[in-house]
Amino acid sequence: MAVVAPASDKPAPIRRRSRLSETWLYLRQSKSGMLGLTILVFHILIALSSPLIVPFDPTDIDASLKNQSPSGEHLFGTDQFGRDVFTRVLLGGRIALVITLTATVIAVTWGGTLGILLGFLGGRIDEAVMRVVDALLAAPYILFLLLIVSSLGSSNRVLIFTLGFFYGIAVVRVARAATLDFVARDFITAARARGERRMTIVLRELLPNVMDILLVEFAMRWSWMLLAFSSLSFLGFGVSPPTPDWGLMIAESRKALQFAPWTAIFPMIALGTLVIGINLAADAVAKALGLDRTQGAPV
């Protein structure tokens, strides 16, 4: 009667799915997430293909075509210099996308690395650095951006590194909090007790767990970064005219709002749909990964 059967004599029917495909499965169930992704992909496709498809030269000035309302020839009308708004809107996201994406990669990389290290090491260094991080988050970020960009000039390189640096500060905090959450768990204790090297623990044990959070962080930071970049452009510290850029176009349209509102409306729609798309997608990805994107604020 003494039956000592193996704990599992027949392989249980486990659905072997990679995490990626599982996440995708959940993501597909979210209507808003799919809408966001579609918008995002659409924007990226336009940014990639626009130089080939635009009907006009974006910087062609023609005083005779000033402030024309939308028509068959000029779908979105023309601006105060007679430039084709449709052409400029299609091209106006390219610089923003490239700069903000690069800056976001920088921000999440340095912020994530420092945050994980602080969370893992703890102690005095952690406390001191976090004081500074908290204080920097307290300072109005736009002030630093303006200060630096105004004195170093708004070259792409300056913009990328300035945005990347300042937006990484908030990532430090998020990555550290996520790390602290895992550092106390037994699998880290187990690795320590085994005598694994610290580097191994960080890379092998911690990083895969914090990665999800960093991915969501990436999407969030990217959308905030777009806001910051277009705000700088709007204030005249970003892309310099006559390069087409949404923020700049909206700023230039202000004087003509009364009689040529289309010069503002179309870039606004373009910028608005892009940031909303990113946020919808970020929300859905966070949900699919089982994380709650609780904090809306970039702090």
């Binding site: 009667m1 003494a2 039956v3 000592v4 059967a5 193996p6 704990a7 599992s8 004599d9 392989p11 486990i14 072997r16 995490r19 959940y26 169930q29 768990r185 037994d186 699998f187 204790t189 187990a190 690795a191 320590r192 007790a193 085994r194 005598g195 694994e196 092998r204 044990e205 895969p208 767990n209 990665m211």
Partner: protein, 694 residues
């Protein structure tokens, strides 16, 4: 018309999963409870027992729905009530005592106000009247100083006190039925015993009916007069409590009862094969078929019904219950226990001498102000563990068991004393220990959910020690990990799974495989079975015992369950507040003379034998810090002899070589008092002590 008090009829509750299929958590459950009855509802995780309890209160988990069947409480269907009627039912006629009182009390409301609130809405009492009654209730659940308790916030109370407040809150509405959902799980044994005693008394006094939900058969035996056993969403057996424990008729009930370790019985109980199915993954026939030794072709295809069995009032859901009933259960139980085979060698493996460990070091300022050093968390530990031996560290929460083990593992440093493993000095942190020493000492944790990295596959988990200690190549690691998995009875196909895709028992097997991948000589086991379902516990113990026999490893085994310790350990060290009370072989620890603390623990342990009333000794007031002087157990000791206990550290007394008790009371006095107390209160279990070894 005479309505039954509680009647559940063919109740099926299910939820829709992400794939859109309906998963039934409860399947055709029927149940009758008389007024004033005490029904114990036993089952493992996922058996649907809590869902059933909540259904009586008309509550479903979010997303769940009643798919079929009815619930009637005195003829009333709670699911058909409007919100106002439901409010009147809940708290007023049916009250709930939840598992985790700490999280069930609103943190921003004073304890007293929370009770007054129940009085206000269920008994329309307000003002001074409500307040007085609330104070009375606080007194009734034996909380000290009700007046002071009234104004406290939940976080200011201990776990046991919070649970008492939850009881007072439930009683406030003078309910006719109490639903208790594992109310003592997570509490220390002495606290649990006091709470169970209190509940039994109050329920008897007020004539309240109880539905007591628990996975712990010891607790169920103590509180119920009838027991319903649940498996995979169904009731598989219902009977009077004495019948369930003496003449169980369902193979699952039998297996479950045979698989729990017993206080009076040395040796590992018989493991039940397999694991309970996850909801919705039962077959078309009897859901117990894959784990059943009686199963045949019928069982796989035809679902049995719940039919009357031999005893009056006994119902069982099994095609073969008559065959099962013919086998005398007491005999089956006797044969169930087997002693682990061990080779204990005379040479010491681990030696601790005068070890003292403190969590907080005194700051410079305190030292300059000349404040006395606070007593260390763990102090004066002198212990020897022999090679191949299993030493159990026993004590309630705060006893320092885990601290000691972590210090041996090098995760903490002692403040004083010496620790040695063979010829190695253990007074250094893990990062300064040589590789071969780290390889020889391995840890297994309580909760495999936390100790296995959720982002690693089983193969990656097993790779880590293999790479670190043996520098094996990829193909060697693969080969070795398959060997290891087979050794812990998991097939090679488990290599590619993530911990999230495994059951609790499987995860713990992976954790064990990881520890043994290092080919260790000393394995530190921290409550390794307490996160597991009852029916898979014994199989894990078996596995650990086999591995010990094969590799001759030494175990230091932390546990709070004294029956489990009796099943598995060679020697036991009893700790209170980080101080040793008693050390001895398992037999010596479980027979008088005991240290009064050991006695208290043994007396309080719930046992799966109906009719036993635990013998309550001393108070259950938890202590936060050890006393600065005298005996560490002075404040709770039931055998205190006077101020000497407060003033002087007690001497070690040695009844026989290898057994020591630290107490001021002479051994013969201790023994006489304890033998008579035990005879008076605890009848011997109707089981012989004979142990069949294999």
């Amino acid at each position: 018309m005479n309505e039954p008090f509680v009647e559940v009829n063919d109740l099926t509750i299910g939820y829709r999963n992400r794939q859109g299929q309906i998963v039934n958590v409860l399947r055709g459950v029927s149940l009758v409870m008389p007024r004033g009855g005490a029904l114990g509802l036993v089952g493992e995780s996922g058996s649907g027992k809590s869902t059933l309890g909540m259904a009586l209160l008309g509550h479903l988990r979010a997303g769940s729905q009643v798919q079929a069947g009815t619930v009637r409480f005195e003829g009333v269907d709670p699911f058909a009530l409007n919100p106002a009627e439901l409010q009147a039912l809940r708290g007023g006629r049916i009250a709930l005592i939840p598992q985790n009182a700490a999280e069930s009390l609103t943190p921003t409301m004073r304890v007293g106000d929370q009770i007054v609130e129940v009085l206000q809405f269920n008994r329309i009492l307000v003002g001074a009247e409500a307040r007085d009654l609330a104070l009375e209730l606080l007194g009734q659940v034996r909380l000290p100083q009700p007046e002071a308790m009234f104004t406290r916030y939940p976080h200011e109370l201990s776990g046991g006190q919070q649970q008492r407040v939850a009881v007072a809150k439930a009683l406030a509405g003078e309910p006719e039925l109490l639903v208790l959902d594992e109310p003592t799980t997570g509490l220390d044994v002495t606290t649990q015993a006091h709470l169970l005693d209190l509940l039994a008394e109050i329920v008897a006094q007020m004539g309240t009916a109880m539905l007591y939900i628990s996975h712990d058969l010891g607790v169920i035996a103590r509180v119920s007069d009838r027991v319903a056993v649940m498996y995979a969403g169904e009731i598989v057996e219902v009977a009077a409590v004495t019948d369930i424990f003496a003449r169980p008729t369902h193979p699952y009930t039998r297996g479950l009862l045979a698989s729990i370790p017993r206080l009076t019985q040395a040796g590992i109980p018989k493991a039940m094969p397999g694991q309970p199915p996850t909801p919705g993954e039962h077959g078309t026939g009897c859901s117990f078929t894959p784990r059943c030794t009686f199963a045949d072709g019928t069982c796989e295809t035809v679902a049995p019904t719940l039919d009357a069995a031999a005893q009056p009032g006994q119902l069982v859901r099994c095609h073969h219950w008559q065959t099962v009933a013919k086998i005398e259960f007491s005999q089956e139980l006797q044969q169930a226990f087997h002693k682990a085979v061990r080779k204990v060698e005379p040479e010491p493996a681990v030696e601790l001498a005068g070890v003292e460990i403190a969590y907080t070091r005194q700051g410079l300022i305190q030292r300059l102000r000349g404040l006395p050093e606070p007593p260390a968390t763990v102090s004066d530990i002198t212990l020897t563990v022999h090679k191949g031996e299993t030493l159990a560290l026993v004590g309630e929460s705060g006893s320092g068991k885990t601290t000691i083990v972590r210090t041996i593992a090098g995760l903490m440093l002692p403040r004083m004393g010496s620790l040695k493993f063979k010829d190695y000095d253990l007074n250094v942190g893990v990062d300064r220990r040589p590789l071969e020493l780290r390889q020889q000492i391995q840890l297994i944790f309580q909760n495999p959910d936390a100790s296995l990295n959720p982002r690693h596959t089983v193969a990656e988990i097993l790779d880590q020690p293999l790479r670190l200690y043996f520098n094996l190549s990829r193909s060697e690691r693969r080969e070795r990990s398959i060997e290891l998995l087979e050794r812990v009875r998991l097939g090679p196909h488990y290599r590619l799974r993530y911990p999230g895709q495994l059951s609790g028992g499987e995860k713990q097997r992976v954790a064990i495989a990881r520890a043994f991948a290092a080919e260790p000589q000393l394995v530190l086991c921290d409550e390794v079975t307490s996160a597991l379902d009852v029916s898979v516990q014994a199989a894990v113990l078996d596995l650990l015992a086999e591995l010990q026999a094969e590799h001759g490893v030494t175990y230091i085994f932390i546990a709070h369950d004294l029956a489990l310790v009796h099943a598995f350990a060679d020697r036991v060290a009893v700790l209170y507040q980080g101080r040793l009370c008693e050390v001895g072989s398992t037999d010596e620890i479980y027979t008088p003379p005991h240290h009064p603390y050991t006695e208290t623990l043994l007396a309080a342990a719930p046992r799966p034998v109906p009719g036993l009333r635990p013998h309550l000794l001393g108070s259950d007031v938890p202590e936060l810090a050890p006393p600065p002087r005298g005996c560490p157990f002075q404040r709770r000791c039931p055998r205190r002899i006077g101020s000497i206990c407060d003033e002087e550290a007690p001497p070690w007394r040695v009844p026989v070589e290898g057994h020591r008790i630290r107490c001021h009371i002479p051994l013969d006095e201790l023994e006489t008092a304890q033998v008579s107390a035990a005879e008076h209160v605890i009848p011997l279990e109707p089981l012989s002590n004979s142990v069949s070894s294999n």
